[in-house]
């Protein structure tokens, strides 16, 4: 139970960063921390003590393995995070081109 709570604390650390930081790069990093905590939570759900990784190898019965479904989901989620992070960084580069700053309090003008 403690690990799940710690996972939630990690999520809150990310949320704190998103809500309070002014720098756009730090906001992206905080979003990544939130995503990591969600991934960690899913992996911890499938974790069992003394279980093996779910890959078929010599002398290993499927009953000894952990559930591979959350791991496959998390792998997909990591790939999607990679894509969204790249997209966010591209948007931030565009914002920097226009406003010459990463500070969100200074990005107010509508155009020009």
């Amino acid at each position: 139970m403690t690990v799940y709570l710690l996972c939630f604390v990690l999520f809150l650390v990310g949320l704190y960063g998103v809500l309070t930081k002014r720098d756009l790069i730090k906001i992206i990093l905080s979003l990544t921390i939130m995503a990591y905590s969600a991934n960690l939570f899913l992996i911890l759900f499938a974790y069992r003590t003394d279980a093996l990784y779910p890959i078929l190898s010599k002398g290993v019965q499927p009953g000894q393995m952990v559930d591979p479904l959350p791991q496959a989901m998390v792998l997909t989620s990591i790939v999607i995070e990679l894509g969204t992070t790249a997209l966010l960084v591209a948007l931030v580069v565009r914002i920097y081109q226009k406003y010459k700053t990463f500070d969100i309090t200074k990005i107010r003008r509508l155009s020009g």
Binding site: L82, A90, Q97
Partner: protein, 150 residues
């Protein structure tokens, strides 16, 4: 000593030695993707990190000479196109998309699992090259000027 682009000579020397080990390890993960943990994505990320080490240590100009960026763009597109071709060959072999049409082989041997190693290699190329190119494009100094285009 003449100041050159990139980091200090210590970083450059270590990078020059380590990059080949990283590339070999990435290829190992890709080729053994159907037997051990790893596979196309993980191995491809390690390939991309090896390229990025060169990029960070030696700078942009040297990397442009060392790697053919245009060829990498073509390799990225070709990998996903070949993935589609393999998938459609599965359709022609009977069944649905990505049906295994090759010899299955013996369990736990390197040449086994039909089309899965081929698809792993294609995904590895795709992920490795596109991850490197994403950082490459986004770190273009020309981008920071007004009206700079990607």
């Amino acid at each position: 000593m003449k100041q050159q682009a990139g980091m200090t000579i210590i970083v450059k020397t270590v990078t020059r030695l380590m990059v080949w080990i990283m590339l070999v390890y990435g290829m190992y993960l890709i080729l053994h993707g159907h037997l051990t943990p790893g596979g196309g994505f993980g191995g491809g990320v390690i390939l991309a990190l090896a390229f990025l080490c060169i990029f960070l240590a030696y700078g942009r100009t040297y990397t442009e000479e060392w790697l053919n960026i245009k060829l990498l763009h073509q390799a990225e597109s070709a990998a996903i196109l070949l993935f589609l071709v393999v998938g459609l060959l599965g359709v022609t072999a009977g069944g649905v998309f990505l049906t295994n049409f090759l010899y299955h082989g013996e369990l736990f041997s390197l040449v086994s699992a039909g089309t899965i190693p081929i698809l792993n290699i294609l995904i590895g190329v795709k992920v490795g090259v596109s991850l490197f190119l994403a950082v490459w494009v986004l770190s273009d100094p020309h981008l920071l000027e007004e009206g700079g285009d990607m």
